[in-house]
């Protein structure tokens, strides 16, 4: 079949052709970018935190009328209160492990700084940015972290300090990505580092495989695996505890926590948000990402459906319009399959033309989103897959009207219009 008569026919209704092609171009541009956004969000949500997330929950509580934690006596008082809580929690049945902690991955509270290889460096210009987790010797076990080098903290390593005490711990455990950044050519364990521009050294005693920083915002994306663990109980008028329960006992333990802690000391705040499973922490952290992915998915579905429906509608119209011509072709010896192929090929040409424009539009939209909203650059295969998808969509959509066209009987040619 030569293309010449087809092109001649298309030129007869330029406007319709241009509109379908434009529609396909827009669809391609929007769907590619939307799917790219979905992919980025899903990837974000699926990355493991490094924790064993099941059977884990966190308690945030605040003491009423507690000392301010600015002088040594009140710090010791706060530390005693914290230890009372911890031993009460540890004594609960079905509790496997408890650690005081300042935050958890995906929890919206974080303590960030920088680590340097030299003393007294500018805080913001250290060798690597990092987030800090403060806990005791049970932190590794409670969070389910994998120690891959060196050793864990012992009870004797653990100290306590006021929340706003700027002094740094002597010992730290860091994550592998942070270790690799600081010491690309050697083992980090046993090395000395300086935290936050401090002039006192801290020694790296262990390395964990993976531990995500708390923040999931874009500002933390440059150091998302750079975590440092310090063997310190932070004393303030509030405290947090991470608790691991025996498998399957999470809900029961969580329900029992408030009365247990009120029994230790009733002058404290424990509200609806105070006892939170890690599952809920995760859900809240990624709610925006999942919401965005759902929204983009819905928009893609609507758009693809609208485009397909539009192709069906317009092709149906053309089939109706060319009813007589089809009859003439059939009468002159064209087979049904020739008529079917004619419309399929016609659609392929229009969709192909539209898709070429669409590729340019898709890249343009991606550039626009990149320049305005911190989007990543979209890989080329998205556009190519998108191109295949819209062309296939066009073929599927055109099939029904094209088949109807192929069923036009040759006898139509002999009838008056």
């Amino acid at each position: 079949m030569t293309l010449h008569p087809m092109i001649a026919a298309l030129r007869k209704h330029k406007a319709g052709v241009v509109l379908i092609a434009l529609q396909i171009a827009l669809t391609l541009a929007i769907v590619c970018n939307a799917v790219f956004i979905i992919y980025a969000r899903v990837q974000n949500v699926q990355r493991p935190t490094g924790l064993d997330e099941s059977n884990l929950f966190m308690i945030t509580q605040q003491w009423v009328g507690a000392p301010n934690g600015d002088d040594p006596a009140s710090i010791q008082k706060l530390d005693a209160m914290m230890n009372e809580d911890i031993s009460a929690l540890r004594s609960m049945p079905d509790v496997e492990s408890v650690t005081p902690i300042n935050s958890l991955p995906l929890f919206p509270s974080s303590w960030n700084g920088a680590m340097s290889l030299k003393p007294g460096a500018e805080l913001r210009a250290g060798n690597a940015r990092t987030t800090y987790y403060f806990g005791d010797e049970n932190l590794m076990k409670t969070l389910g972290l994998h120690l891959i080098a060196g050793r864990n903290f012992t009870a004797a390593d653990v100290t306590n300090k006021g929340f706003r005490d700027p002094s740094e711990a002597n010992l730290v455990i860091i994550t592998k990505p942070l270790a690799d950044k600081l010491f690309p050519n050697s083992d980090a364990v046993g090395k000395v580092v300086y935290l936050d521009g401090s002039s006192t050294p801290s020694t790296v005693i262990g390395e964990v495989e993976r531990l995500q920083v708390p923040s999931v915002s874009s500002w933390a994306s440059s150091f998302v695996w750079n975590s440092t663990i310090e063997p310190v109980r932070l004393n303030s008028n509030f405290s947090r505890y991470a608790v691991r329960t025996k498998p399957g006992r999470l809900d029961d333990v969580m329900r029992a926590v408030p009365s247990k802690l009120y029994a230790v000391n009733p002058m404290r705040v424990l509200d609806d948000d105070s006892v939170k499973s890690f599952k809920d922490i995760r859900a809240e952290a990624y709610r925006a990402d999942i919401g965005m992915a759902v929204l983009m998915g819905v928009i893609c579905l609507i758009l693809l459906a609208v485009t397909a429906a539009g192709i069906v509608g317009l092709t149906s119209f053309w089939v109706g319009q060319r009813h007589r011509q089809i009859g003439v072709r059939r009468a002159l010896g064209a087979r049904k399959i020739d008529i079917l192929h004619y419309f399929q090929l016609e659609n392929l040409m229009i969709a192909g033309g539209g898709a070429v424009v669409g590729v340019a539009l898709a890249v343009g939209l991606n550039r626009l989103l990149m320049s305005k909203f911190e989007m990543e650059s979209m890989p080329a295969y998205y556009v190519l897959v998108g191109l295949a998808v819209v062309v296939t969509l066009g073929q599927i959509a055109v099939f029904v009207p094209a088949r109807r066209a192929s069923n036009v009987p040759p006898v139509v040619a002999t009838r008056a219009a």
Binding site: G16, I37, Q62, V269, R287
Partner: protein
């Protein structure tokens, strides 16, 4: 005549129900998707205090210098909050009409009802002028007097929700409230004041937050009793001293600041004052870098802090793209539909109908499709807004809502957009040559 055209449009649309339904669906979905996204965008980008936002300013002082700049993306902007030293110095100099330094607090409250456990509340430590500056509405009582700031008085203003919870909504002015173990006298109850974004302190709240603003107490008092700040603390160097006092002596920033300046003269004289303040500090040896202050009005400030989540903007862009795609589609279908009636047009033209009449007739038809699509769009937008609340972050989900403006806008967008889509098909229809059509038939 319009009534007649409307009648014609209905007849014509009834003649091809499939195509008509398709166009209505396409317009409905396109409008609903864009309106749903727009409703979220509108909710988060609106001016929180439109009658006054151009007179509220946020001063920024470069107390860190170039070494405090973490990356190059923030246009060399100075820190977006203040340290204690500069915030209190600006308060002392008192050069604006109204001004307030403020920081977020999250104290505990022991309810007067002894059966209730202590609760945690959110709020701000502010100066007395805060309330007049932001036109904060009071249900009972009023702000504390200016001399309470100086006296570090134990007074508090509470919000309506907390008043409901603790005092059943009754006038609690004059009653005592236990905050962090100390007694405060309630001087005012707000009339459910919950501006979104929390524009007076976006630095410590992120603008949109699910946290409540329950209590407002004197800044000076909060400092006096060591009430710790609950927002962000950013440092360019580690504080030398320990504790809350160490923080107050450091260059760490954690305090928000807002000032009301009523006219251009006031703005320029405040700018001069800020520059003079910086230069004095520089002369005294505290800074050794060039002047780099900012004084943004509230809209510019919210923009520079990226208060509108970028997800919301991306959704809006993508949804508008969807709307355009739907309109292109509708234009194609309308074109097909109109040109199919070339012979009808030919007859009308031959009988003396001017082009204008053809124009009107087909635009009325396009508008009818738009109106019907718009009604469907209303329903789908309503579903969309309720559906989207399920997937948005909590603090934003509650803000997107359906109101009369949105409904009117949905209809208007549907009708206008469909008529725009119908322009070219109508133009083509009006160009139909009557002679040609009559001949071929």
């Amino acid at each position: 005549m319009l009534g007649y055209y409307f009648d014609l449009a209905i007849r014509s649309l009834k003649r091809s129900p499939g195509l008509t339904a398709l166009m209505i669906l396409i317009v409905g979905f396109g409008v609903a998707a864009s309106m749903t996204s727009y409703s979220v965008f509108r909710a988060v980008s609106g001016d929180p205090i439109p009658w006054k936002s151009s007179r509220l300013f946020v001063p920024q002082i470069d107390m860190w210098g170039p070494k405090g700049r973490l990356d190059a993306t923030n246009n060399n902007d100075p820190p977006d909050a203040m340290d204690y030293l500069d915030a209190t110095a600006l308060m002392r100099d008192h050069r604006g009409k109204y001004q307030s330094a403020m920081y977020r607090v999250s104290p505990s409250i022991v309810p007067p009802d002894a059966h209730m456990h202590p609760i945690n509340v959110g709020g701000h430590a502010v100066y007395s002028e805060f309330f007049a500056m932001l036109d904060v509405p009071f249900k009972y009582g009023s702000a504390w007097a200016a001399d309470s700031d100086a006296q570090r008085a134990a007074v508090v203003v509470i919000n309506a929700k907390l008043n409901q919870k603790l005092f059943g909504g009754n006038n609690s002015v004059g009653k005592t409230l236990d905050i962090d173990g100390k007694d405060y006298r309630i001087v005012g109850v707000l009339d459910n004041w919950t501006p979104k974004p929390v524009y007076y302190d976006v630095v410590n709240t992120g603008g949109f937050t699910a946290d409540q603003e329950d209590v407002f107490l004197p800044f000076t008092r909060a400092i006096d009793v060591d009430m710790q700040n609950d927002g962000n603390t950013n440092c360019s160097e580690i504080p030398k001293g320990s504790g809350f006092v160490g923080l107050q002596q450091s260059s760490c920033v954690w305090i928000s600041y807002m000032v009301e300046l009523d006219d251009k003269a006031a703005v320029s004289s405040y700018k001069n004052y800020l520059d003079g303040y910086f230069n004095d500090q520089k002369a005294s040896g505290r800074f050794n870098w060039p002047l780099n202050n900012r004084l943004r009005d509230l809209p510019a400030w919210l923009e520079s802090e990226h208060v509108v989540p970028s997800d919301t903007k991306i959704s809006l862009v993508v949804a508008l793209g969807l709307l355009i795609a739907c309109l292109v589609n509708t234009a194609g279908l309308l074109l097909a539909k109109f040109l199919r009636r070339s012979s009808e047009i030919g007859v009308r033209r031959a009988l003396g109908a001017p082009r204008m009449a053809i124009y009107t007739q087909f635009l009325v038809e396009a508008g009818t499709v738009g109106l019907t699509g718009g009604v469907l769009g209303l329903l789908l937008t309503w579903i969309g807004i309720h559906g989207i609340s399920w997937v948005l972050p909590k603090e934003i989900a509650s803000l997107a809502r359906v109101d009369l403006n949105l409904l009117a806008l949905t209809l208007a967008v549907a009708i206008i957009a469909t008529m725009l889509a119908g322009l070219y098909p109508t133009f083509r229809a009006s160009r139909v040559q009557p002679a040609l059509q009559l001949k071929t038939n």
